[in-house]
Symmetry: C2
Subunit: 329 residues, 2 copies
DNA sequence: ATAGCCATTGCAAACGTTTTCTTTTTGTCA
DNA sequence: TGACAAAAAGAAAACGTTTGCAATGGCTAT
């Protein structure tokens, strides 16, 4: 027996219309006096609004759906914080659904879930949107935006860092520090998202501009995970040809760091690392990792702005944060 | 113009009742033939169920609300994975709302949000439930359970590790390794949750059993954060009296580790660390941290089981995972 | 052929809001 | 005092489902 506006109406001796108006702050359709009375009885009865009913009646939702692909990516928390903050300011609530890691079926189901809750917009966090997902999304006629991952398909608008620039800046930074033999580790170029390919292009551009002929042994593919970093380092070997490496994520960077340590390869003396992401993880390892830091919090903010039809940017800023994992040669 | 079951009914030439029954799999209230027809038209029209309407009609929800206190705690992901998995199996969806970090107002608001969505149950992840929150929850008449934090107030049922035992086992482990002067760092005993106090009691019991007279300089309070670890180590000083320390969380452990490193205190030669939580973080630092590992994934699972009225446990298991941060003396 | 039963289908009310339109009350000004 | 506008309040329909109950039709057993 939950209490409804009908109960309030009865208790306060007014119509449910009035109660509704008071409780949803429809300006000046009621007197101050009744407003007070209604609010007090609502309070006394312990009334809680039924959002489902309200959204059904208004035909619009005040919730935004957030689908998160993986619990692996440790930066999603920052994005979520951004989303949450901006959503709160607009009196929206965020419904977050985890889609498991790399499980196409769960991912589809997660998208379905937010659609069925008829949210006003959908934010996809590092979700590798498949063709199937896309038809589902388009069909639902709900605006959706990919966060942190870019796609070429112009059906998918996104807010992310400029991954080409990330690859380019990271590599150029190492070149400026005097490195010539530079690796790239942990990126995934098989996905629908352009992330890996763009970073690789940027990397190659920087090398080319510096007149460096790259070897394809310098590039180690992976999936942005800690383990990818370990594997990459194993492939580079105990006396690596490269003197510096761009890690596709902080986790990859740490994997490289630890495997290097096992190999007796000193970072940064024997090998320099710059990692992409720049989350707090960079600061808790030794040496602290120099990083290309992405503006995840802002991505979240811009995401909800985009959903509420405010103007927004396609790319958020990146910056290089110098810590202790890169040596000048 | 979204498509409703009415549209399907019209297109398929049946009543909306039939459509509803087919689509929600009410057994044997319809013929195979109509079922096929209805399903096909639903598919063709791109129908998406309106959950709000359905829940309003049935007066019950298939969603469970998850309120997460802080984005700091890096173990919440594991709990969420557990929740998600178990929820999926029961055809429930999880609505996750972040409550900011230590912001009482946002926390209350988050709880309000899930209540207003009339979820069938609420899971509170490391939420420090205040008296205010409690009245709100009780009033809503929705079952709720605290995950990972225990309370004495018997209004709050919980699923967590046995924090007393955690403190006890961790300390005893160090004692068994020959340590006598053992610190405890990073716990918070000011909160409503019993976590910190219970761990401290366990710690003290183990010390007492071993006939060790503890010094209150051995205990450094904090808030489970990286910074708490750093501060604790600073207070222990460059030549610490203690030879081993129980860290209140992995983050605290890492904070201690890094500050020790700065001080030239070698881990584990000069100082042994055992950290509480046992998340992946333990494995990415050097040396890897020995830990009292909590079963976070299981907490998530048990949480939704409890909400669906299945029998469950109050305490999930803990185990000690030996890595490289404790020395035998 | 007929009664009776079962399988299938449909009608209509209900869920808790919001909102349009209408009605009532209040207040102002001549 | 009366007229009238403005302010306040209410009635009822609508949103998209589910479901109790009633209706229909076909089949079986007599």
């Amino acid at each position: 027996m939950t209490v409804t506006i009908k109960d309030i109406a009865q208790a306060a001796g007014v119509s449910i219309t009035t109660v509704s108006r008071v409780l949803s702050n429809k300006d000046s359709f009621y007197s101050e006096k009744t407003a007070r009375k209604v609010k007090k009885t609502a309070e006394k009865l312990g009334y809680q609004k039924n959002t489902a009913a309200a959204e059904l009646a208004t035909q619009k939702s005040k919730a935004i759906g957030v689908v998160i692909n993986s619990t692996q990516t440790n930066f999603s928390n920052s994005i979520i914080e951004g989303i949450q903050q901006e959503a709160n300011q607009r009196d929206l609530s965020a419904i977050i659904v985890f889609a498991g890691v790399g499980d196409a079926q769960m991912q589809r189901r997660a998208i379905q879930t937010v659609i069925e809750r008829s949210v006003m917009g959908i934010l996809l966090l590092s979700v590798d949107i498949s063709a199937d997902d896309l038809t589902l999304l388009k069909q639902a006629q709900i605006p959706y935006i990919s966060l942190s991952q870019a796609f070429t398909d112009d059906q998918i608008s996104y807010i992310s860092s400029d991954d080409f620039d990330i690859g380019y800046q990271a590599t150029k930074y190492l070149i400026n520090k005097g490195h010539r033999k530079i690796g790239l580790a942990g990126i995934d170029i098989q996905k629908n998202a352009m992330t890996g390919r763009n970073r690789q292009s940027g990397y190659e551009k920087a090398l080319m501009e510096a007149g460096i002929e790259s070897s394809n042994k310098w590039i180690q593919y992976g999936d942005y995970s800690y383990n990818s970093g370990v594997m990459a380092m194993k492939n580079y070997g105990k006396s690596p040809e490269i003197t510096a490496v761009v890690a596709a994520s902080d986790m990859v960077g740490i994997g490289i760091l630890n495997q290097a340590h096992d190999y007796g390869v000193d970072v940064p003396k024997d090998l320099s690392i710059i990692s992409i992401d720049g989350t707090d993880l960079c600061k808790i390892v030794q040496p602290q990792l120099t990083s290309v830091t992405q503006a995840f919090f802002e991505m979240g903010i811009e995401g909800v702005r985009a959903l509420t039809n405010e103007k927004t940017t396609e790319f958020t800023n990146i910056k290089i944060e110098e810590r202790d994992s890169v040596k000048t040669v």
